[in-house]
């Protein structure tokens, strides 16, 4: 199928490396993957650095990890070769490769990814705004709550 249209299948790989791995070390790893991709006549579509994040659970006594995300195309067993390289590196805690499409369109994917990220950012901002609103509301209530018990107490005294 891909031979007819000339398009290669696309894959995405997320890699978690040790957080103490230096930038140079990370660069070396990225270069190594880039080398594999070119060797398999593929193309790097997108690379993202999510930075150091706290892991939901500790992996190999590490509670933090550096996330890297690559989208690429390639023929044959490119995934196998990349994963073999990742396994060789002792700084890689974990990785996950997902098969995207048989005939991958890099430009369309990039566009879609940007849209998704924009939407996620917008949601995040809305959530932040709502939270601030709630906080402001709570601050607004506090003085009234303090004044409310005072009023009935005064009337009771008056009744007695």
């Amino acid at each position: 199928m891909s031979a007819i249209t000339g398009k290669l299948p696309g894959y995405e790989t997320t890699i978690i490396t040790r957080s103490e791995l230096s930038d140079d070390g990370l660069k070396a790893l990225q270069d190594r993957i880039a080398g594999v991709i070119t060797a398999y006549k593929g193309e790097t579509v997108l690379t993202e650095d999510w930075g150091r994040k706290k892991l939901a659970y500790s992996i190999g006594k590490e509670s933090r990890g550096h996330y890297n995300y690559i989208v690429y195309t390639g023929a044959g067993d490119i995934v196998h070769e990349i994963e073999r390289n990742l396994r060789l590196s002792e700084h890689v805690l974990r990785f996950l490769t997902v098969n995207l499409e048989k005939e991958f369109d890099g430009e369309a994917f990039k566009k879609r990814r940007a849209e998704i990220q924009a939407a996620a950012k917008k949601r995040e901002e809305e959530r932040e705004a709502r939270r601030e609103e709630r906080m402001a509301e709570r601050r607004g209530y506090e003085p009234r709550e303090r004044s409310a018990p005072a009023a009935p107490a005064a009337s009771e005294e008056a009744g007695e």
Partner: protein, 108 residues
């Protein structure tokens, strides 16, 4: 009370029906009756909102479909449609693998 006695005198069958209707009305007013209670129709958030995309990389999105113990929220509670629930389970499992969502806790 007076009304009930009059309906009873007419015939027994419609009286029972009337009673039941009364009870249902009362329950609806109270709002705690299981039977005939108000049910809001749940809609799948992925179907209704095009910008809300299912993605295993978005941990924030996943957190609303995972309990604080890390369990996937069932469809009957979240209101997802069958297709999206199926996709969500794979997404959550992928995110667990990447330590974005916990296996036993909700995660960071």
């Amino acid at each position: 009370m007076a009304m009930i006695t009059t309906t009873k005198s007419e015939s027994s069958a419609p009286a029972g029906k009337q009673d039941r209707q009364d009870r249902e009305e009362r329950m609806e007013k109270d709002g705690d009756g299981r039977r005939g209670g108000f049910h809001r129709k749940k809609v799948c958030r992925f179907c209704s909102d095009n910008e809300f995309v299912l993605d295993y990389k978005d941990a924030r999105m996943m957190q609303s479909f995972v309990t604080e113990h890390g369990k996937i929220v069932p469809r009957r509670i979240s209101g997802n449609c069958a297709m999206h629930q199926r996709k969500l389970t794979t997404a959550v499992k992928r995110a667990r693998n990447l330590a974005l969502v916990g296996y036993v806790s909700m995660g960071a």
